[in-house]
C-alpha cells in the first residue's frame, strides 16, 4: 500500500481528537524547547566562563619556570622567570601573538584598619594590551600609570565589601620567597569591575616594577601571559616558545580541571534530557494507546480488507512521527525564541555561582545557539517519540481481526 495513503490516514486520524493531539504536540514542543534553552545556557555559560578565564587570568599561552606551580603562587626565585622581558619580546615577535606581558602574582592580605581580606596581587605592565579588560573596566578613579609606585587598583566587589573608595589608604602584607612577611601601605588609585564577581573580589593590581620591589623578587616574573589573535594557534605558539628553563602551557592545559568538570557536569544534563524525554514518551504512548483503544474496531475492518499487521503498525508509527515532527518543528521555533531571548537578556544569577565555585562566571548566564546540539536533541526527541509509539502500534497490529471486529 502506498505510504502516502497510510500517511494520509495517520494525519487525518490526528484530527479526530484535536484537543488531545494538540496537548500532545505542545508537550513534545515544550519538552524540546526547554532542553534547547537549557543546553543553550550551558553552552553559553561554558564559553563565557572559559573566555573570562582566558581574558582575565590565564591568557591563551603562559610561559613559566618549569618548577612554578599554578596554584601555589610561589615567590621563590627558583620558581620565577629571570629573563621575563626578553621572553615577552620574543613572544611578541611571533605573528600569531596579539600581546605578551610579564606578570608577577603574589598572595597577600589587604588591611583597612578595621577589616582584612585575602587578595591576589597582580604586578603588571600597565601599558600592555593583556590587561585591557581592567583598563576598560574602570568604574572609579584612574588606571595605573607606568611610574605609579604607591598606588593599587582593586575590584568593585572588594571595595564594596570593605567600604573602600578611591584615595583610601590600605595595608598589604605578603610573604616573600624566603618566608619573611613584608608590609606596605598603598593608596587606591582606581576601582574596576570586570563583570566577574569572583575576580573583582580578590584581584589587586599594581605596576610590575613596584610588585617586584615590594616582594623582593628582583626583576623576576611569575609568567609571561600571551594573548593570541586565534586561540586555535595556542599549541603552535606554545611549542615554538617552549625551551630550556621555560615551560609553555596552553589555555586548554591551564583550564583542564575546569574543562573536565564541565564534561562531568554534562552527565547531569544528559540525565535531565532523559527525564524530559521520558515524560514526552509517556504522553505520546498514552495518546496513541488511547487512539488504539478507540479505533480497535477499525483495526478489524482494515484487517478484514487485507491490511497486514505491519501496515497497521506502520500507520500508528506514522501517526506518532507526524505528531513528533510537528511537535519538533514547533519546539525548534519556541526553543530558538527562548535561546534568542537568553542570548540577548541572559539569566541574572548575581554572584552566587562564582562565590560558591570561584569560577569566572559573570553575574548573568547568557545562552548560545548550538546548532549541532539542538539538531541532536531534535533527532533524539523523534527517536524517543517513535520508540514510545512502538508498543501501542504493536498492540494494534497484533489484534486478531475477529476480536477487533467483535466490537462491531
Amino acid at each position: 500500500m502506498a505510504l502516502s495513503k497510510l500517511w494520509t490516514i495517520a494525519f487525518r486520524d490526528l484530527g479526530r481528537n484535536r484537543r488531545r493531539s494538540l496537548l500532545t504536540l505542545i508537550a513534545v514542543a515544550l519538552g524540546l524547547a526547554l532542553l534547547m534553552v537549557v543546553h543553550g545556557l550551558v553552552a553559553g555559560t561554558m564559553e563565557d566562563t572559559m573566555q573570562n578565564t582566558i581574558r582575565l587570568e590565564t591568557g591563551h599561552v603562559q610561559l613559566r619556570a618549569p618548577t612554578y606551580e599554578q596554584g601555589k603562587i610561589s615567590l621563590q626565585w627558583k620558581d620565577l622567570l629571570e629573563n621575563a622581558d626578553a621572553l615577552a619580546v620574543r613572544a611578541r615577535s611571533l605573528p600569531e601573538v596579539k600581546a605578551a606581558s610579564p606578570v608577577l602574582w603574589a598572595g597577600g592580605v589587604l588591611n583597612t584598619g578595621d577589616e582584612s581580606a585575602g587578595v591576589r596581587i597582580y604586578g603588571v605592565d600597565v601599558a600592555s594590551a593583556v590587561h585591557e579588560p581592567i583598563r576598560q573596566g574602570m568604574v572609579a578613579g584612574a588606571y595605573l600609570a607606568p611610574d605609579d609606585r604607591n598606588s593599587i587598583l582593586i575590584g568593585k566587589h572588594l571595595a564594596d565589601s570593605l567600604g573602600l573608595a578611591v584615595g583610601a589608604r590600605v595595608g598589604l602584607v605578603v610573604v616573600s620567597g624566603d618566608g619573611q612577611p613584608i608590609e606596605g601601605v598603598f593608596a587606591i588609585r582606581g576601582i574596576f569591575a570586570t563583570g566577574v564577581p569572583a575576580y573583582d573580589d580578590t584581584a589587586v593590581f599594581m605596576t610590575l616594577d613596584k610588585a617586584q620591589a615590594f616582594t623582593n623578587t628582583a626583576g623576576r616574573a611569575s609568567a609571561i601571559v600571551i594573548l593570541l589573535h586565534r586561540q586555535d594557534d595556542a599549541d603552535k605558539v606554545a611549542a615554538s616558545l617552549r625551551g630550556e628553563g621555560v615551560a609553555a602551557f596552553t589555555w586548554r592545559q591551564m583550564n583542564e580541571v575546569f574543562l573536565q568538570t564541565m564534561q562531568s557536569a554534562m552527565g547531569y544534563y544528559v540525565i535531565m534530557d532523559l527525564v524530559v524525554m521520558l515524560v514526552v514518551a509517556v504522553i505520546i504512548a498514552n495518546t496513541l494507546l488511547m487512539a488504539v483503544f478507540e479505533r480497535i474496531r477499525e483495526m478489524g475492518i482494515l484487517a478484514a480488507l487485507g491490511m497486514k499487521g505491519r501496515q497497521i503498525m506502520a500507520m500508528f508509527l506514522l501517526e506518532a512521527a507526524t505528531l513528533g515532527l510537528l511537535g519538533i518543528a514547533i519546539g525548534i521555533v519556541l526553543g530558538s525564541l527562548g535561546v534568542a531571548y537568553m542570548t540577548r537578556n541572559g539569566l541574572y544569577i548575581g554572584d552566587m555561582s562564582s562565590a560558591a565555585s570561584g569560577l569566572a562566571i559573570g553575574t548573568a548566564m547568557y545562552a548560545r545557539f548550538d546548532p549541532p546540539t539542538f539538531a541532536g536533541l531534535a533527532f533524539w526527541t523523534l527517536i524517543i517519540v517513535l520508540l514510545a509509539a512502538l508498543y501501542p502500534a504493536w498492540f494494534a497490529a497484533r489484534q486478531e481481526p475477529v476480536d477487533a471486529l467483535r466490537a462491531l
Binding site: I9, R297, A304, L305, G306, E400, L405
Partner: protein, 230 residues
C-alpha cells in the same frame, strides 16, 4: 464451480470455564455466483460461519477450502493476502474508515492490492456510480446517511473483484426502503459481476432476495435449499 468447501467444521468459544459450541460439525459447499442467505436465530452460528469462511477466524477442527486451498493452515499474513484478493466484507454497522471519504474508502482495498492509479480511479468511479453515489465521492461517512454508507461499503467490498462477498446483517441498521435498495444493489452486482454473495440475516424481506437459503440452529445446518421454499 465450487468455491467454498466446509467439512465438519467445529468452533467452540470459551468464556472462563464455560464453553459454547458455535459451530457443531458444519459441512457445506458454495458455488461461484451464488446469492445465499444464512439464516437462523441469534446464537445459531451465522456470524461465526461467515468469519471462518472469511479467514478472519480459524475453526477448532474440520477443513475450510477456498478454491480448493485449505485455508486453516495459513498464517496471519497469508490469510490477509487471501482476504485482500478473494473476499469482500460488508458489515452491519457499515464499517467505513471515518477519516476517508467515499472515494477513498472504495479505493482503499485497491491500494492494498497495488492496483495502478488509472485503473483504480476507473474502478472506483464505476462502482460508486453503480451504487448511485457519483455525487457523494468526497463526502466522509459522517456526512452520509446510513443507506449511503452501506452502499459505499458494498462498492468497497466489490472493488478488488473478489470471488465472494460476505455480508453480516447488511440491512439490520437500515430502514425498509434503504434495506431494500441495498439488497437490490447487491443482487444486481451479483448478477453483473458473478461474484458470490453470502449474507447472514434473520430479516424475512432479505431472505426473499436469496436464491439459496441455509438455515442454522445451534451451530448445525438444519435446512439448505431454495429461498422461496424456506
Amino acid at each position: 464451480m465450487t468455491i467454498i468447501q466446509l467439512e465438519n467444521v467445529i468452533k467452540t468459544y470459551r468464556v472462563g470455564a464455560v464453553a459454547t459450541r458455535a459451530l457443531n460439525g458444519i459441512t457445506l459447499d458454495f458455488q461461484a455466483g451464488e446469492f445465499t442467505a444464512l439464516v437462523g436465530p441469534s446464537g445459531s452460528g451465522k456470524t461465526t460461519l461467515l468469519q471462518i469462511i472469511g479467514c478472519l477466524d480459524r475453526p477448532d477442527s474440520g477443513a475450510v477450502r477456498i478454491n480448493g486451498q485449505d485455508v486453516t493452515r495459513l498464517n496471519a499474513n497469508q490469510r490477509a493476502d487471501l482476504r485482500r484478493e478473494k473476499i469482500g466484507f460488508i458489515f452491519q454497522f457499515f464499517a467505513l474508515v471515518p477519516v476517508l471519504n467515499a472515494y477513498e474508502n472504495v479505493e482503499l482495498p485497491l491500494l492494498l492490492s497495488g492496483v495502478p492509479a488509472a485503473e483504480r480511479r476507473q474502478r472506483v468511479l464505476a462502482l460508486l456510480e453503480s451504487v448511485g453515489l457519483s455525487d457523494r465521492l468526497h463526502h466522509r461517512p459522517d456526512q452520509m446517511s446510513g443507506g449511503e454508507q452501506q452502499r459505499v461499503a458494498i462498492a468497497r467490498a466489490l472493488a478488488p473483484r473478489p470471488l465472494l462477498v460476505l455480508a453480516d446483517e447488511p440491512t439490520a441498521n437500515l430502514d425498509t426502503a434503504n434495506g431494500r435498495q441495498a439488497m437490490e444493489i447487491m443482487k444486481k452486482l451479483n448478477e453483473q459481476t458473478g461474484t458470490a454473495f453470502i449474507f447472514a440475516t434473520h430479516d424475512p424481506r432479505v431472505m426473499a432476495f436469496a436464491r439459496r437459503v441455509v438455515k442454522l440452529q445451534d451451530g448445525r445446518v438444519v435446512d439448505d435449499g431454495n429461498g422461496q421454499r424456506i
